[in-house]
């Protein structure tokens, strides 16, 4: 296709909007002091926590999201369309609202939180577990949406053939559905990981900002920005590098449509 020339101007502006802020960050940073600013106990702790929690929540998204996507795409239960819309809620909800909602469910005064506290003595908010829960809450829709789309466009004819060949539903799921879903699963997992890595609003509301426990990299940037802007910029650059790594690892298949 020949691209109409009028598209070049807004396209260039869009690219500038993505690239220039990162350049601004680079220009603002003091490159000579960068290593010493990054290699501090608090930022290293935040880096470790971020990677650990994002990895855990990605696993959580896969374990819970794959079955959910299959149910949403294949089930003929009445009301499934409403459910499909509800699953998208975290995608449109401001994360802070999500964090508040989680707090009033699992907090000591929330009904499930009260139950957990009284019966098991477990308190969820302001723990690393809370960080993971908040990340799963905001990230899972990305995985579910991409998997459900892949399942729908693939149709169920391969699964039907599997059934006529004598495979029971679990065998069909294991040997047909999941292998054919792998490309979409890869892209969905990368998207979820990236979303979990950048999660801020729900985390700070539901899990707070305790160094080494709940203070992930985005929270570290926010905290540093209040006292030492140079450190904040340095940690922000660390996040940029991490994000670029995710893109490089995931490319070319995962982020470009996810069918390859």
């Amino acid at each position: 296709m020949k691209i109409p020339w009028v598209l070049w101007v807004p396209a260039g502006l869009a690219l500038a909007l993505v690239v220039l802020p990162v350049v601004g960050l680079l220009v603002r940073s003091d490159l000579r002091r960068l290593p010493s600013l990054i290699v501090t106990d608090s930022s290293l702790a935040a880096l470790r926590l971020s990677i650990e929690t994002a990895a855990m929540s990605t696993v959580g998204c896969i374990v819970l999201g794959v079955p959910l996507a299959v149910v949403l795409a294949r089930s003929r239960v009445p009301g499934i369309r409403l459910l499909r819309a509800i699953v998208l809620l975290p995608l449109v909800l401001p994360p802070v609202v999500g964090g508040l909602a989680l707090l009033y469910l699992l907090g000591r005064k929330g009904f499930l939180g009260y139950l957990l506290d009284v019966t098991l003595g477990v308190t969820v908010p302001f723990t690393t577990a809370a960080v993971v829960i908040a990340q799963i809450f905001v990230a899972m829709p990305f995985l579910v949406v991409s998997l459900e789309g892949a399942l729908r466009s693939a149709g169920d004819s391969y699964e039907q053939v599997g059934a006529t060949l004598g495979a029971r539903p679990w065998t069909v799921f294991r040997r047909v559905t999941v292998p054919m879903l792998l490309p979409a699963l890869g892209s969905g997992a990368v998207l979820s990981f990236a979303r979990a890595l950048g999660e801020f609003g729900a985390t700070i509301t539901f899990a707070g900002s305790l160094e080494g426990v709940t203070r992930t990299l985005p929270l570290e940037v926010y905290t540093q920005a209040e006292s030492d802007i140079d450190s904040a910029v340095a940690v922000a650059l660390l996040l940029v590098v991490l994000a670029l790594l995710v893109i490089i690892v995931a490319r070319p298949r995962a982020l470009e449509g996810g069918t390859g």
Partner: protein, 353 residues
């Protein structure tokens, strides 16, 4: 195992009500146009659709009470639907493996079936590396590798190009005739598929069976106008020779041999009533047609815009009403039937007929 079927099914405003029997070792072709209920019928047999009321007895098992995976069926559709993530050998081994065989045993079974369909050399390829005809060959092996008691063929040649279709048709003829236990149901809109593969034909339209019987009889002498329109063909039985066919009486019919026709084997010359030209018996009209048959008219039947002429030679010809009037044709008229050799195709005779 013999298949006995009674099905009533409603989908929206469409109703299907049909019953039939397929004796063990035989093939029944369900012939019908799009929307006649063929797919609903097949879906009910495979278990992917749930009929309102059905009795589907395979031997003494009621399939209708079973899930698709417990029915012991094989399904071959027009799309091979090979699992893209599995190698050819694992595709074919899928059914034995799902039914409890180990990996090594399943692969051995798969290799045996691949050899059976002349596809052994594709064993280690991925489905994406096969042509349409090769993939369908593998799909035949996959459907058979589970040793199904009932084989369902859903327009298996419809998506193949003209070069690949005769080869698959020939392959199906071979594998179908080598098993005397299995019942096979072939769904098709092409009377030639029925002719090549089926012992019996059931003609389906708007969810009802309007005609049934031995393939050759139904196709050559349809009792309903509808069957005549979709499936009415001229058939002449004999032996395949290099320029066509020789009948038992020694008459030669010039024609083109289909790709899977073997010389000296029983064969059928097939041509449409529309490719038969009719001349008055005394007319010395010279022409290129190599097949000239003397006959006398037995009946004239209107078929939509044309008139179908039936003759005592067992052949039919389609004419316009104007031509019938010009030639003053009526039952008893002596005529000469000319059939151009290029419109005649000589197919192998069907399995048992």
């Amino acid at each position: 195992m013999t298949l006995r079927v009674e099905i009533e099914l409603t989908r929206g405003s469409f109703e299907l009500a049909v019953d039939f029997e397929v004796p063990a070792g035989t093939v029944l072709a369900i012939l019908g146009p799009n929307g006649s209920g063929k797919s609903s019928l097949l879906g009910s047999l495979s278990g992917l659709l749930r009929p309102r009321r059905a009795k589907i007895l395979l031997g003494d098992r009621d399939l209708n009470a079973l899930q698709p995976y417990d029915r012991s069926i094989g399904l071959l559709s027009q799309d091979p639907l090979l699992f893209p993530h599995l190698s050819v050998v694992d595709n074919v081994g899928f059914s034995p493996r799902s039914k409890g065989a180990g990996r090594r045993e399943s692969r051995n079974i798969a290799r045996r079936w691949l050899a059976e369909v002349d596809a052994a050399e594709f064993a280690d390829r991925k489905p994406a590396q096969l042509s349409g005809g090769q993939a369908q060959r593998v799909a035949v092996a996959r459907a058979l590798a589970g040793e199904p008691d009932l084989l369902l063929l859903d327009e298996p040649m419809a998506a193949l190009d003209v070069d690949a279709a005769p080869a698959i048709r020939g392959l199906l003829r071979r594998v179908l005739s080598s098993n005397k236990e299995r019942a096979t149901v072939l769904v098709t809109h092409d009377p030639l598929d029925a002719l090549a593969l089926a012992d019996h034909v059931l003609v389906l339209t708007e969810g009802r069976a309007i005609e049934r019987g031995p393939t050759r009889e139904v196709l050559a002498a349809p009792r309903t106008a509808f069957t005549a329109r979709i499936a009415g063909l001229n058939l002449i039985a004999g032996t395949a020779v290099d320029d066509g066919l020789r009948t038992e009486e020694g008459r030669r019919i010039a024609g083109m041999l289909a790709a899977d026709t073997a010389l000296g084997e029983p064969a059928v010359a097939v041509f449409a009533p529309s490719s038969v030209a009719v001349y008055p018996a005394g007319d010395g009209h010279p022409g290129s047609p190599r097949n000239i048959i003397a006959a006398s008219v037995t009946a004239l039947e209107p078929h939509g815009p044309v008139i179908r002429l039936r003759t005592d030679a067992g052949l039919a010809a389609d004419l316009t009403p104007a031509a019938v009037a010009d030639l003053r044709l009526e039952p008893g008229s002596a005529v000469r039937l000319d059939i151009k050799a290029t419109t005649v195709t000589v197919y192998p005779a069907s399995l048992t007929a």
